[in-house]
Symmetry: C2
Subunit: 209 residues, 2 copies
DNA sequence: GTCTATAAGACGATAGAC
DNA sequence: GTCTATCGTCTTATAGAC
């Protein structure tokens, strides 16, 4: 693995374990057996590592959305999509948590076009929900869809942070199951009989112990 | 106002505006016209200011819960309770955001008994929802109530953070209305006809433009 | 690309005079 | 309670050898 890749990976490990603010660049360098100067060569600012990690997460999510759109628009596949997103959230939690704090800077920063990305995501989400409605999986009015979008935005952005905040000791699998179950219940409230069966298929595949 | 009080107030203003990590103790002192040493006399650690603010928020919430329990258990009053909580969240957002980050430390810290408080809150929430069910406002099974608790935990803890992160430009009133409307829709999904009327009363009193 | 060495500047925190 | 002065540590940046 290239040094640059190793820095990214090690930094994420430390951020997840100790929190961004409590990790020094010296510490990352020492743990890799390289000099701080060398780390500076690859990332002149500590914050730059953060943005690379956020970008990585964003690209992973793009891929998850693409994967969904290539398949049939069912609630089962939708839950698979959300599972991928939550897994990436979990993986990048130390970076995403910190990103919330420099929110003011983010919005005018061009390394991540943050507001544009979240606008795009919201439009994609709306398309997906409407697709699920036409496919007979959701019985949702326009205002129901608006509500679900509000819910999903909050859910996708913060559920892993809640897990990290309150129960940092829990295993990934346990955490993800908890939130996917919550999501399944919410979606079932707006699902048709066909949609409910699709949710049950997801449940039996991924949520059984 | 005493110096100590002025420090707390000014610190919160700065935290809300720039984020905890981007505010120095020197900056707070300068804006108050006192020396950094004097600020250190009142708060030996910057973190201590954070904990005072968090405690302030927690006590405000305690009061909101007490107020609710003295009134009739209706969905209208429940939404009023949540409105109070959201307002305090909004007021303390700069501090609460940062608190997420030192979560690991918090759990073993005795300045805030964090895990105990959240356990207590969850029990209170469960009681309230069960009260609403017996009062004929909610038609919710035991598992429905479990779901609502999961939702409300996430909602109460992170909705204001979402607002702060994505739309820091919006006014308090606008932000609160958006989330109260979202909450009203969620509760209506489990409400009886009587409960729905109670929600509508809340809506007409507080959510009209 | 990688290293050593080092300096600048900001920060939280502390010591001691008044 | 309030001040000035200072310490130690951190990020960031740069110069120059290999």
């Amino acid at each position: 693995m290239k040094t640059r890749e190793k820095i990214i990976q090690t930094a994420l490990d430390f951020f997840n374990k100790k929190g961004y603010a409590n990790v020094g660049v010296r510490e990352i360098a020492r743990s890799l057996g390289i000099s701080p100067g060398n780390l500076s060569y690859h990332f002149s600012k500590k914050e730059d590592i953060l943005f690379v990690l956020a970008k990585q997460h964003s690209l992973t999510n793009d891929q998850s959305f693409e994967d969904f759109l290539e398949k049939e628009a069912t609630l089962e596949n939708f839950l698979v999509l959300m599972m991928s997103i939550l897994k990436s959230q979990y993986l990048h939690r130390g970076a995403l948590l910190e990103l919330s704090l420099i929110a003011a800077d983010i919005q005018t920063d061009d390394r991540l076009n943050y507001t544009e990305t979240s606008r795009r995501r919201q439009a994609t989400l709306k398309n997906i929900l409407e697709l699920l409605a036409t496919n007979g999986h959701l019985k949702a009015s326009a205002s129901d869809i608006q509500f679900l979008i509000s819910f999903l935005k909050l859910f996708a952005r913060f559920s892993m942070q809640e897990a990290f905040l309150l129960d940092s000791f829990r295993e990934e699998k346990e955490v993800i199951s908890y939130y996917l179950n919550m999501l399944a219940i919410q979606m079932a409230l707006f699902a048709t009989a066909k949609g409910k069966r699709s949710i049950e298929r997801f449940r039996s595949k991924y949520l059984t112990e």
